[in-house]
Symmetry: C2
Amino acid sequence: MVSPEERGLIEGMTMRRRLLRKGEELVSQHSQPSESCIVLSGFTAREVVLDDGKRQITALHIPGDFVDLHAFLLKVMDHSVVALTDCEAAYVPHRELLRVIDRSAHLGRLFWLSTVIDGAIQRAWITSSGRRAATAHLGHLICELYLRLQAVDLARDGTFSFPVAQGELADALGFSLVHVNRTLQELRATGFVRWKGSTITILDFDGLAVLSQFDPTYLNLITLPR
Amino acid sequence: MVSPEERGLIEGMTMRRRLLRKGEELVSQHSQPSESCIVLSGFTAREVVLDDGKRQITALHIPGDFVDLHAFLLKVMDHSVVALTDCEAAYVPHRELLRVIDRSAHLGRLFWLSTVIDGAIQRAWITSSGRRAATAHLGHLICELYLRLQAVDLARDGTFSFPVAQGELADALGFSLVHVNRTLQELRATGFVRWKGSTITILDFDGLAVLSQFDPTYLNLITLPR
DNA sequence: CGCGCAATTGATTGATGTCAATTGGAGTGG
DNA sequence: CCACTCCAATTGACATCAATCAATTGCGCG
């Protein structure tokens, strides 16, 4: 996917690293970032807080994700990115991105691809939110997370760590906290998933996928640069 | 935004035009298009049909929109694009896009921007679906459509034509048809909006925007190429 | 052991989906 | 111009789903 010279270009990007505690903001809503941010470890989320205090999470990000690459083009952030756990992030100045893209159209296209896959995931969330039953909505998210985490070696044998509270999950799914809890119990009752503390185990992926009407095509994990 | 040479590049793209009747597919789910499609006239929508027959519309497109530009990178369509009204479309081969992008990095970035704005709109839909009241959800969509249509001269003085049935709207909002109808009545009762036949008139944009918690920043209409 | 936060539960209210008519309006043929 | 047809909009009654409110339990940690 990526040639040695391209790898060199990427590794040559100056970036600033930063450690964040759970709850801190990596990027602020309404800001006009001059750099974009890659998560190196930990879970983060894009969130929008409405006037009435309600919160919606529009994306969950895992290590390796370029969380606000779209800010390279969009200029004004329409949401924040917050740390759901302690995490580490690398900030790449937009001028560096520009430099890399100028030297390698192929890398530019991989960056573009990254934002486009983001969009595909968002479409799946819209579909879940609008037309899937609560258990399927939650199940779909679990399938998505599992495959994404597996692609970066953070999941295997159906198991991964997901140290995120039910309240956060509620804001991602558009549920109330209580409803998350009950939906989770329903899902456990199917026997397809075990969820204990911060460890999720998918006992029957195919079963869960059918229940959740999950089709992995949209994640395009095959063509990912790594 | 676009220099004369760039305009020349765009106008030089070979493309195939096609007329479509209401209900026809511009692009099919699971297909692997070798061209991407611009809507020239009429309303279209991205839709996903689930196994159980439920349908979700994940985007509404208006004339000027590049409806499946992401297919240039994603290869496999995770949804269809259907005509909500009779419409005209232009199909641009991916090899032409590649040629244009190679000659003008700036145009390449505008294409990228187009997909990124798409993503911002999708995030707004996720937020509406998850955390906004029914009237606000519908109101938000109306605000969005108005500004987008205004930007391409298809709306003025608060008025635009939207010849789309309530059933389609239901699939876009994730509501039932009956619920769309009742939410529409509630919205009319606020006095902010008139909706008669296929003509929508926003009588009080600011009022509607407050009700819907609408913040136009995300549409980035200022930086749009046209 | 006791604190504090997250998970869980129960009871109730409110929002939305479903089913089944009924109404309204545009187009068509007589 | 009128009767008819078809489809979209609207309405009413009812069933479900999910939010809210208010405890209570469970668990990790000092």
